[in-house]
């Protein structure tokens, strides 16, 4: 198939795009910086991380975040924060979060009360 002499896209013809063609080089950083976006679905709910946007500053990051993450589903508020300002643990240190069986004293399930209550009720009942 040969390249058509004119485009089916009227904008392409109007701009005479097919006649230009100087290569363009995008400079590093020209697409700005990245901001992480947090979305609050309803009042009282947590803000949840939903993704990120590129923006030159935090104010515009909010504008872009609204376009990108609040087009459809319910949203009452958004936060943005520069990706670089997020401090996180190293992913390889995941094992430090592991819980062992000996820490059941931290969990509600680690305290078995019903057994004793039932035993107590049974013993007082038997005395009568």
């Amino acid at each position: 198939m040969d390249q058509p002499q004119y485009s089916l896209d009227p904008r392409v013809n109007r701009l005479r795009l097919l006649e230009s063609g100087e290569p363009v080089e995008v400079q590093e950083g020209e697409n700005w910086n990245s901001f992480e976006v947090f979305h609050q679905e309803k009042r009282g709910a947590h803000h949840e991380h939903v993704g990120c946007v590129h923006a030159p500053n935090a104010q515009l990051a909010l504008v872009f975040a609204k376009e990108q993450f609040a087009r459809r589903k319910k949203c009452v508020n958004l936060w943005v924060v520069r990706s670089a300002d997020i401090l996180a643990f190293n992913a390889e240190d995941e094992d430090m979060f592991a819980n062992n069986a000996e820490k059941t004293y931290r969990d509600a399930s680690g305290f078995k009360v019903m057994e004793k209550i039932n035993q107590f009720k049974k013993s007082t009942h038997d005395k009568k």
């Binding site: 089916l8 896209d9 392409v12 795009l17 590093e28 020209e30 910086n33 990108q68 520069r82 190293n90």
Partner: protein, 332 residues
């Protein structure tokens, strides 16, 4: 929208590369065990260099496909038949551009900057889905794209959303949710023409005839000819084979086309009820390769439109540039 069960690669790069041979075997075993357990890989995790390279290429091509894919439809916004169709088309095109942004972000977490990806697109080094190198001649082409190309893309994306790389899966989850509207509005516009006047039916049939071969190309070459990468399947970068996805697409959508009295330009197209597989005449794979390598009817135009946007938007981007900001990559 997205094209490409086919991950493009230069033939000579399909060999194991030097650095891949030197991946730490202990870490590699841990990494593969993690994937086998169904766990996701996150940006800070150790990963084989080949996994990183293949994922960057896959997600980057997906991102480019969203951006370039908006062009053939975008040109019809001004000429959409009626206010409702125009609103739907604007919303869909905005979604596609948004999907491109989500995917560039996901690819950036792997270490390639968005600027580098855009440069590789403009120079032709990085590819995008082949279907977008064909023109949308009439409004019926837009309905065929909106219905069938989006449907094919969904088959592909739903599979990829179960892959192993966390940021890509999260982006795809949002994308698939929005694509369901694209598919429905495409189907609706398709039905309207298929059940319309004889002229409308003919316009739709012509568009179907034009698009059928690009659609059959969409999922890439048959498994028997493409270099089958067991590693990519094992690493859950590639989630289903080209033939399997193509068969799933035909199974779901050929009946939806035929029930409206439309025909497809392939006398061989028929489901083999015993095997459950569709039979079809082999699409022209030489043409497919020629179009990927720049020889399609719209390759030059697509890139020139993208380049024009880059050139003419530059002053706005520069004017808004925050000089104090230091470049960083998305964290997740």
């Amino acid at each position: 929208m997205y094209g490409g069960g086919y991950i493009f690669d230069e033939p000579n790069k399909r060999q194991l590369k030097e650095e891949q041979l030197h991946d730490d075997p202990v870490k590699l075993a841990e990494f593969e065990a993690r994937i086998a357990r169904g766990e996701k890989i996150e940006p800070g995790d150790w990963m084989p260099s080949e996994y990183r390279r293949q994922l960057i290429r896959l997600i980057e091509q997906h991102a480019h496909s969203e951006i370039i894919g908006a062009l053939p439809e975008g040109t019809w916004i001004t000429r959409a038949p009626g206010f409702k169709r125009k609103l739907a088309l604007i919303a869909k095109v905005q979604d596609e551009i948004g999907h491109g942004q989500l995917l560039y972000n996901a690819a950036e977490t792997l270490g390639k900057s968005r600027e580098a990806m855009i440069n590789d697109l403009l120079s032709g080094k990085s590819k995008y889905s082949n279907v977008f190198n064909y023109p949308a001649e009439t409004w019926a082409d837009v309905t065929v794209i909106g219905f069938l190309i989006d449907a094919a893309a969904i088959v592909n994306q739903v599979a990829n959303a179960k892959g192993s790389y966390g940021p890509y899966c999260r982006a795809l989850e949002r994308i698939c949710y929005e694509e369901s509207f694209h598919l429905k509005q495409g189907h609706d516009a398709f039905i309207e023409l298929a059940t319309g006047t004889p002229a409308q039916k003919q316009m739709l049939q012509d568009a179907l005839n034009r698009w059928w071969q690009p659609i059959m190309h969409f999922f890439g070459p048959p498994d028997k000819t493409s270099v089958h990468s067991e590693k990519l399947m094992q690493w859950k970068v590639k989630m289903a084979s080209n033939d399997d996805m193509r068969n799933q697409f035909l199974d779901q959508y050929v009946p939806k086309i035929r029930e409206l009295g439309m025909t497809l330009p392939d006398p061989e197209l028929k489901k083999d009820e015993t095997t459950g597989k569709w039979r079809f005449s082999d699409p022209d794979w030489d043409l497919f390769k020629k179009v990927i390598n720049g020889g399609g009817p719209c390759n030059a135009e697509r890139l020139q439109v993208r380049q024009w946007a880059e050139e003419h938007g530059r002053w706005v981007r520069k004017a808004l540039m925050n000089p104090g900001a230091v470049k960083t990559a998305p964290v997740a």
